[in-house]
Symmetry: C2
Subunit: 106 residues, 2 copies
């Protein structure tokens, strides 16, 4: 993920508190069906389904059909990619800060 074009969809998926909460609940690595994720979220099952669709579309989560229920699980590679983008910006900034400091002290 080098360009902003590639990073934006992932951040867009992370931009909703409901979706962040879903990710937090999936962060333990256990795949869960929709109903299990809908209970306690004060939302309709359909709303949760849509949010999971967004997360799946951004590659942050995987879907797998198991009988009559579909299991969703976290996909940590994409989380890592988002972190990479932020790392690059932060690193570039710290490099610039370092050069500035060196220039001032010279």
């Amino acid at each position: 993920m080098r360009s902003a074009e590639a990073a934006a969809p992932v951040f867009a998926a992370l931009a909703d508190p409901t979706r962040l909460a879903l990710l937090e609940r999936l962060a333990d690595g256990v795949p869960r069906p929709i109903v299990a994720l809908a209970t306690g979220s004060a939302l309709t099952r359909q709303a949760v389904t849509k949010h999971l669709g967004v997360l799946s579309g951004a590659g942050l989560v995987t879907r797998r059909r198991a009988g009559r229920e579909t299991l969703y699980a976290l996909r940590p590679e994409r989380v890592a990619e988002a972190r990479t983008w932020l790392d690059e910006v932060a690193e570039q900034w710290e490099d610039a800060l370092g050069r500035l400091k060196a220039h001032v002290e010279a």
Copy 2:
């Protein structure tokens, strides 16, 4: 930034490719006026102004008036906060993975 509630606005600000591009151009630590950021972005000055307003609202950027132009500069603390949130999810997942592995091998 411990809860999803606090993290979402920052990610929402990062959700737009135009805003990410603006952050990339500000990542060298040099404060720039709006016109300098608008040139080459294929957008109107007003559109860029709005995006900078969003970034400023999320605390990702600072505004400073200098004569007839307003200078925008990156504010790396917030970038670090977003990274922290992603780190927590990733860490939790890796912990879960570690436990799972230990359980399987046992």
